[in-house]
Structure formats: C-alpha cells, structure tokens
Symmetry: C3
Subunit: 468 residues, 3 copies
C-alpha cells in the first residue's frame, strides 16, 4: 500500500488536475535550493549515522510534539530534554510507541504529509504508522539508519540538494562549515548571518555577546562605530563561509532610522542594560536599517522574520527552554513599521529585503502592496504554520494579484527535520503547479506561460533572490 496519493494536492476537477500534473512533471526533479533553514552543519561535517528513529523524527520536531502535548502527552515522556537536566524519557522505542499511538492526532496536518512522505520515499515503507506497526517501524528505520546510504551526506545527495543554508549566530565560529569545506566533499552547505543575540538588548547575555564579537574581530565594540565595524567583519567572515543572506527574528517589523548620534547613545544604554522595553525595540529597529545599509556594501540578502510571541508558557520555558512549540504568532504591522528603513534604502534595486509573516492578514493588505512597488522588497514564502497546502494556497491567492510572481522568491523549507526537506519542497511544487493550473483553467494565464513560471517558482526565483 502506498502511503501517498500520486495526485495529492492537485485540483480536483479533471482539466485543472491534468494541467497541474503536467506542470508538476516538468519540474518535480529540479534540484532543491534550500536558502533558509535550520539543519545542523555538524551532520554534514562529521557525516555520522543519525541516532535512533525517535531522536531523528520525534524529539527534535516541535510540530510533532506540540500536537501530542496539546492532547495531554507530557513533553518529558516524549524525550524532550529538560533545562535542568532532569529526567526525560531516553528509551527511543518507548518514545516511538507513544508517538505511534497518537499518530492519528496529526490527521489533516502538514506534519502527517511530511512524515508519510519521508516514510515512503526515504525509508521505503508501505504501511501506515499506528500502535500496531510501531515496533516494525522502529526496527525498520533503525536498520536503515545504520546503513552508509542513510548517512547525512548520502541523503543530501539522494535528496538532490543543490545548496542548503543553515543559520548561525553572529558569534558562531562556523567550525562545521570550515570542516565541510576542508573535507573536499562537494555538497554545498552555506551559513546565514543571524545576529539576534548581538542586536537585541532583551536577549540574556547581550553585552557579553557584543564583547565577544569585539574579541573575534579586533574592533572596540564598546563604541557604536566599533560595534558596526565588528558586524561588518563578522558578515565578511560569514560570507567567506558561503553566506549570501542575513536573518532577523524580531518580535515585530519595526525599523528606525535615527541620527547616528542618537543611535550611538541608544547602543551605549543597551550595553549598560539600561534600555526600557521601548528603547530596546527602537534599537532592534535601528539595527535592521543598519543591516540593510551593510547589505548595500557587501551584498547579503536581508531576511525579516517578525511577529512571533515566543515562549508563551512560563512553565514550559522554565522546564524545557526555547523552541518547544509555545511560540504563538500575533498581529504584525508592516506599513508603519518598515517606513523608516524603506525611506532610507527602499528605492535601491541593488538591495534585497525578503519579508516573512505569521500574520496572513498582512498578505493582501500590506505585504503585497509594499512588495508590488518598492524595488528592494520581495515576499518570502508562507512561513511556519503556513508551510502547508492551505497556507500556500492562501499566500498565492492573496499576493499574486497585487505583487505578481516576480516579487516572490520560491520556497524555503526552514526546517530542522532533515528527512522532511524533500517532502516540504514537494508540497510547495505541487501547490504552486496547482495554482498555475487554476489560473490557466480560469483564463488568467496563457497555457504556454505556465511552464516557465513553474520553473521560476521552483528554482529560478530562489536562485536569483538568494544569489545562489
């Protein structure tokens, strides 16, 4: 039994389905460009076998364990590590059984599609996961993982990845990227510059992080000028390790363009730990504009990922720490927030700023109108909870008419779950081809124009926007 429907995610009426399938067949085997994500570069540096199935598939995937948590399964029983090192389940098989027993909770979710895709395509499995098949699954996957063709580099090649970007903190030593390069392996694993911990005064350790950046670069990061120079140096270091982009995960999309003296004063206050919440917010906003100006110098593409209210549960944050599924989106304004940055550098066609959102109400109202006129702006693909068939459909329906296709940048998988990468790209390719097919079937796009757009959405736009 196949776990997957060959025509999944295509339109249901005959002609649209045929059009979508034909478009999909034309692009399904194109190489994967993964310009934004969170895979671990150490995997590709060391090329060790992945550990047991639970540690590969359950424990690190907050999409999965959050859903089980929502129905009363404890994170400790799922093996999620505790901040204090206290007990959590360590027996992979027990964790796997608990997961299998609750697999029905994922019905109708993208996780189900991604998991079934990796079960079928990565592990060659032909039966559904359930309490009954849990042990068979565990044994089968464990056996695969022990084989050389399931090592990270082998999978990377089998997945057809042309380039993948990981994300590292500004002060990271990028040792794994160095090791990959020195190894002679041809897989293209690049980094991305993520300076949140050195631009956000509210992140614990901010001043120490800034000081470390000073040591790393030789600039005096106690001064505003030295701090900016240190950024320049670290960006250059990242570029030398393949980076083509920076990434910024702020609570909102606020930008500022203060006079340099005011920015310097704010920075001094931030270093002293004396910023109010409002001042910290303003400083983060100022740094987005500074980063954009540096991008004009060094060519890094600037990505803004705003709007998540992180660590919503104090109890879970205290016990299990960050990134545990308790990051909840909130309303996000772009029109007022981005104006200072756009007034500073928005008309520059040699700058690329890619906007993401978790607030879909901004697609048609704010993001598409902005991207549809400012030369520097592009729209990132549907992000996080919206990396799904319905989410992608809404994105195309709400942005295409106002921003067109050429102000979008293809797909990002944005994942830590390595085996889900082909699945996620496959979903995006199917949904995009379905959208094009719908446009053709409703006379909004000529049939001969669709294949070119399918290529662009799958490959060309990402390649050019991210300079890959």
């Amino acid at each position: 039994m196949a776990l997957l429907d060959e025509d999944r995610l295509f339109p249901t009426d005959g002609r649209s389905r045929d059009l979508a399938r034909e478009l999909y067949l034309g692009i399904k085997d194109l190489p994967i460009l993964s310009p934004h994500g969170h895979t671990d570069p150490r995997w590709f540096a060391e090329d060790q076998a992945f550990p047991d199935p639970a540690q590969l598939i359950v424990t690190p995937d907050h999409y999965v364990f959050r859903m089980l948590c929502s129905q009363g399964v404890s994170l400790a029983d799922l093996g999620v590590p505790r901040v204090d090192g206290g007990w959590t389940e360590a027996d992979g098989r027990k964790i796997w059984r608990l997961f299998a027993q609750h697999y029905h909770l994922l019905r109708g979710t993208p996780s189900r599609l991604w998991l079934d895709h990796s079960f079928q395509h990565v592990f060659g499995i032909d039966r559904r996961l359930s309490a009954d098949t849990a042990d068979w699954y565990y044994d089968h996957i464990a056996e695969c993982l022990a084989r050389p063709d399931y090592r990270p580099r082998a999978l990377f090649e089998r997945f057809g990845i042309e380039a993948i970007a990981t994300t590292e903190a500004a002060t990271d030593d990028l040792r794994w990227h160095g090791m990959i390069r020195e190894s002679g392996w041809q897989g293209r694993v690049i980094t991305a510059y993520r300076p949140d911990a050195v631009v956000d005064p509210e992140i614990a350790g901010f001043a120490g992080n800034v000081a470390l950046m000073g040591q790393q670069t030789g600039f005096d990061t106690a001064t505003w000028a030295g701090y900016l120079d240190a950024h320049r140096a670290r960006r250059a270091f990242f570029i030398a390790h393949g980076a083509t982009s920076s990434d910024h995960g702020h609570p909102n999309a606020r930008t500022e363009d203060l006079a340099q003296a005011d920015a310097a004063a704010l920075f001094a206050k931030a270093l002293r730990g004396a910023c109010t919440a409002e001042e910290a917010d303003a400083f983060r906003g100022q740094m987005l504009t500074e980063m954009a100006r540096m991008s004009l110098e060094d060519g890094l593409v600037l990505q803004i990922h705003p709007g998540s209210r992180r660590n919503h549960s104090d109890e879970v944050m205290a016990m299990f720490g960050r990134d545990k599924g308790f990051d909840i989106p909130g309303r996000t304004d772009y029109v007022t927030a981005l104006r200072p940055l756009l007034n500073a550098v928005g008309m520059r066609a040699d700058l690329t700023v890619i906007l993401f959102t978790l607030d879909e109400t901004s697609y048609a109202r704010e993001l598409a109108p902005l991207a549809g006129v400012y030369p520097c702006l592009r729209l990132g693909p549907p992000w996080w909870f919206h990396d799904s068939a319905e989410g992608m459909r809404r994105f195309r329906e709400m942005t295409t008419e106002t921003a067109g296709f050429y102000n979008t940048v293809g797909f990002n998988d944005d994942t830590r779950a390595f085996c889900s990468i082909p699945a996620r790209h496959d979903v995006a390719r199917r949904v995009d081809c379905s959208w094009l097919a719908t446009l053709v079937a409703t006379g909004r796009l000529a049939e001969d124009e669709a294949p070119e757009l399918a290529q662009e959405l799958t490959y060309g736009l990402a390649k050019r926007a991210y300079k890959l």
Copy 2:
C-alpha cells in the same frame, strides 16, 4: 417542489461530491448533541403549543429581523417588543406577510437555508415563501402548531436530540429544569452556568446580583472569599441541574491572575460601583481565571465567547433593548489576553477551556497555534455570523493544519430558534463531510480514515469535550 437540494453544500466536482455524500449518509442520522444554546427550558417544562408562526419564526430571530431592518423595515412593524411597552405590531398574520414580502432579502444567507429546511422538514412544505404564498404558509404552520406532535417535547424527540443545554444566569432558580426532571419526561435538557451579571461590574445591577447570590447560598458575598464560595455553591446547584459547562460572554478575551489580596480589593471596588472601565475589565479577566480554577475542582467545562461590541445603536437599545441584531464583532486578541490564565492553569489536561471567536483573523494566527499546544484548550465551532457554509469552510481551512481535528469540539447550534436546530446541525454535518471529502480527494487524508473522523466531528468530540 422540494425547497432543498439533496446534495446541497457538497463539493461540485464528481468524485469529491460522491465522497462527501457517502460520508454524510454514514452520519446524518446520528443523535443531535446541542451542548451550547439558548432555547427556553420553559418550553420543555410546560410543553405548551408554540404560539403563532410569526412569534415562533420571525419575532424572536434577530438573524431575520436585522436583515429586514437593514432594508428599512421597522422593528415595531415586525412585532419586536419595546422596552417601554409602547406599540408594536401584534397581529401575527400582518408580521408574517411583511416577512414573506421581504423573504428575497435572505437569499444567499444561512437563515434562508435554515428556514427552508424547517419549512420542508418540520412543516412538510413544498412551495417557496413569497408575498403570494404568505397566507397559505401562515395557515399551514398555524394548523401544525395546534397539533400535539408539534409540541416542544414531541419536536425534541422527532429532532433526535440526545441532549440539549440551555443557558441561565448564575442567580436563576432553574425552576423549569426542576420541573422537567420531576415530570418524568426522559428528554435531556440541561443548564449551563452563565455568570456575566455577577462577574461584570459594568452590567446594571451588578452589586444587587451579587447580593442575591449571597442570599441564595448563605455566603457573605460582601467579601471576596464569600463571593468565590457563593460561585462554588451556585455552580454545584447548576451541576445538580445537569450543567457540564459554564459560559462567559465578555467584551474581549482578557484574563488576569492577580494576587488574591489585589483581586479582593478590586472586588470591593466593583461592589461599590467605583471601578474604572480598565478596572472593570481587569476584574472580568480575573474572574475567568477564578472560574478556570473552580473548573479544576468541579469539572465544569469553561467556554469563552468574547469580542462582541454589543448594543451598537443607542436608539435601538433605548427603544428595543438588548439582542436586537446590533451586536457587532470587533478585533479580538487572544495571545496576550489569555496568557495569565494559561500560565496559571493552561498545562492542566484535566481542564477544558473552549475558545470561540467572532474575529476569523484569529483562527490561523492565534487560536489554532494556542489550541495546538496547550493541553487545556479546545476550539469551539464557528460562531454566530460564521455558523454558515462559508464560515465553517473557512474555520476548517484555517484551523485544521495547525490544531488538527482533535482540538475541536464538534458543533454548537447556539440558537433560540428551536425549529432551526436540525437545520443547523445538518449544515455542519454536510460542510464537515465536504471538508473530509476534499482532504481525501486531494490526498491529504486516507479514504479509510474519513468515516471515523466524520463520526468524531458529528458526535464523539462534542460528547467528550462537554462530558455529555
């Protein structure tokens, strides 16, 4: 001529329609669970014949008279009672003719579907309502209502209602529920605890209502501790009359978790009528958290119905009072608002808090991410203006991928219009089966999994969530 299309609300393409119809046939005759609504328990206690057709179908249904009002028909001419007892039309036939003459205004609305459903299925009517058929309709329905098989209990049984909840104020004597129980009739009519008038300092008569609750329970409700004990006692009284839930209709979703001394001080101020608007809002928010804590003691499911800006027109409020179609939804935040309650009790799997919204922008952005991780949270069905084919479709499309199916709780009819209950549940069943069929037809759900989910959405989820 049938008023209804047998395949109404199913997808239009062949295979999806067939799948939806098959799923629907499997669940259409399941008993009705109506865990949240506003029918009048007196109907079932006294089991008297309903009065004339206009008083059954037009005068009490704000969905209907608001639409006529929007096109210039006066509420007085429709027989809506006046606060001052002044003239309104009392002649049922005149009201009915006015309604019939404007029936085309309801084209494309859920009211039209509900009304046609009750005309066809409850009254066996085979012609469309219009000015021409107004008198025929009036006579026919009046004749039915005079028959014993159109009495409330007979209809209750004919509708296949397994359990229905009404909603009563915290100080209600629940006499009708007592009378139903004592009558020996087997129909299950239960109450729900609605304490708005004793937790909202801005409702006229707040202090008097609290004092009455003190008299009813023997606790000193002039003190915070006594006031909380009085709630406990009233909840126990409601539970003894079948209640399994409480319900809270606040202007927003704000919650608080103040120190008990601060809460006591705020309560004292509220009793004195000295609260500012902000303090009244904080007090309501505190009481949601207190209610959640009591739910952990006594097991009542907590329902939050926020976000309506009630009584928008001063003129209509002065002349006709509350609930006259002038309650308008507004933007509603959940992420920040619910945090105090969720930090207090959100990780408890033995608590059920059901969230409703009138702000659909919160489905994908806030409600599904919250319900998809907190053990205590569930999503209530589409509410009020969204209890409709499009509203239900949007709900499933925007929540399923992030919250799954199992964090939802089936359907609520939430109505005062008794004859519309089977119609409303039928709409929900058809739309849910259509959604499942769409998932199957697009390869997002296996065909063998759909019937089980159809049963859950129709019956199982409501049964378990509301402990029926």
Copy 3:
C-alpha cells in the same frame, strides 16, 4: 490567436461553469453604470484624440508602473512626470518598448487581464504583447487613436456606458461638465462632490481652499455656520452638474458627532492651522457626520473610502508627487469609528452611506454585520487592489452570508484608465455570475432566482443605490 479565454473566470467544474456562462450571457450586454471613478471630464468635453499609446496606457496607470518600479524600472524612464519638471522620458515609443519588455511581470495580475481585454476588444489585437511585438503594437494603437471612432465620445458610446461619474474637488468650477452639457451630446457624464481639500486640515492649502469656497458661494467661511452653508451651496452646484454622490478619502473611518459649539471651535483652530494630528482627525470625523446630515437634506449618497496610508515613500513623493503607487493600505476599524455617525443618522432609511475598505479582514467581521442591520449602510464593491477576480470572490464569500446581496451596490470601476472600463465591468460580471452559479450548484440558491440576482448585481443595485 485570441488573447482572452471565452470562459475566463468561470468555475472549473462542468455544471457550475455551464450555470455561470448562462447567467453571464444573460447580462453581459447590459449598459455600464460607472457611478464612481476618475476619468477626465475634459476628454468628453473636448472630444480630442487621445495622445500616443504610452500616454494613454502606461504613464497614467499606477497599477502598471508600480509593478515595473518594483522590479527596478525607474519611473522617470516610464515617463511619469516630475514635480520639479525635471527630465522624464518623453518618447512614447521608448516608454512603450520598456513596458512591453516587462509585460511578463503582470502575469497573474488583474492589470494583465484588463490590458489584454482592451487590446483585444478595443484595438482588435490578436497577438501577445512582448519585446518582439512592441513596435507593431505601438504603431497599431497609434493608428487607431488617430481615427474618429477612437475619440472619447465614440468610445464612450461603443463601451455602452449609460452613465459615468467623475470626481471633482469641492472648489472645482466644473467647466468641462458644463461644456459637455452645452454641447448637446447625449452621453451622461456626471460629477461627484469630493471635499477632502476643504475638510482635511492636514492637506496643504486647507485655509485657502476654504476661503475660495467662501468666495465661490458668498458665505462667510470664516465662521462654522458660513462654512457649512458654503458646503450646502457647493453641493447644490455639483447637483446641478449631475452629482448624485459625495466621496470622502480619509485616512481612517473615524466619525464624530460633537456639540456644534465644539465643532465650531475645532473649525476655527483648523483655519488657524493650529490643530494637533488628533484634532485634525476629529475634525475630519465631524465633517463626515455633517456631510451625512446634508445628505438627508439634498439626497447625495455618501461614500467613505478610508484606510490608505498615502505617499509612503518620501523620496517618490518629493520627486513625482501623489498617486504614484505608493499608497499602502493599513488596518482599518469601522465598528468604533462609525458609531458617532450611526448614532446620529444611522437608522434613517432615506440616507445611503456606502462603505469601502482596503482591509479585507473587516468584510466578515465588521462591514457585513454593520450593513446587515443599519438601514443607511451599504457595502461598496471590492476596491483598488481588490478589484480583481480573487478580491471579488473573497468579497462575496465574506459578505453575502451576513449582509445578503441587497446591501451591496453593484460594481465601481474607480479608474482613470478609460479603455479598461469595459474590461473591469466584464471581470465583475463574470465573477458575480460565477458566485451565483456556485451558490446554485451547492444548493444555496434556487436556479430560478439566480438570473434576477445577476441583473441586480450588474445593473439594478447600482442604479438604485446611486440614484442614477
């Protein structure tokens, strides 16, 4: 080769498509009512040939040049005039080639559909625009424009326009409308009263504009009473030139109903240029209510077009001025904002207030519930970025169930692009027929009711709402 698919914008499944096509054939040739727009009355007064193709189709259409700007094409190279009279491209053929070379950027946008429609239907073109066909297109269109049957009045008649409204400032002398009337030509070109520049203290020249209105009318506009009388007089002057409506483009939907003494004091402050931003906002809000009261006297329909954050880029505003594609929508509240006006005059069925929005989140949450109960309110059609197939579909899906069809007012093209008028109305007619077909195919509307609604949506509702 036809540029257009004959069945464009119809549903894709067989029966729905057949239903939609049949409905469309029944209404496609109805006259065009264009009750709100921005065509230039001088065209119809002088009836001169349009200038070259670029000046007709590219340079004045901000939908087109904004998209090219977003991909780095300079506005000056597209011939957009500069505020300072500095260089911009004047060679129509060069501009046209640049446009043609970037025509693919419009794929999937409504502009593409409107342009192809006018190319095929207005100019009889049978090949696609591209770099290769740019010169052929230019020559062909230029040749057409030189012919008498491409003069404004000839096109007006060929387009089947029964009535068109232009929009003029309150102090406009309406000379072109006078000239049209005196010419004896039968085409109905009427004006609309747009008083933004005399009601908004933040528009440059406010006090001077008010003084001019005093000179024009003989009232002492230095007083509040005289100012209101001057409005009355100008409205009467507009009505004498055919106006049936006023139009108000405020930053938000705020209304006020101040005591007249307070309004007078605010007006005095506004004339002195002493208003804070908040006071200016309150004054605009007060004037909406004053305009509504005048509408009760003189019968003008009041249109509110709120929510655009205009001139977002300082650089573009400084170089090219207003209306250059840099007007970005923002969140817009209606429920609180409109309450003062609605409490003052909202229950009057002899008043018509038409609400527009650029914030689609307000359709289902705010606008449909308000229009579905207040006698004075109607919903304007999808506006600006939402004047598109997807935009219109969302409008119907999100408003019909709560506001019905009869609280909507048909279509507005709202355009400066004369040749796009038939195209835009054709899109609206197709989408509306598709919506009706979908309702029929899913059993939500009887098949015999749909043709009447198609007539209403195309013609009757606009005719009655705008008193044409």
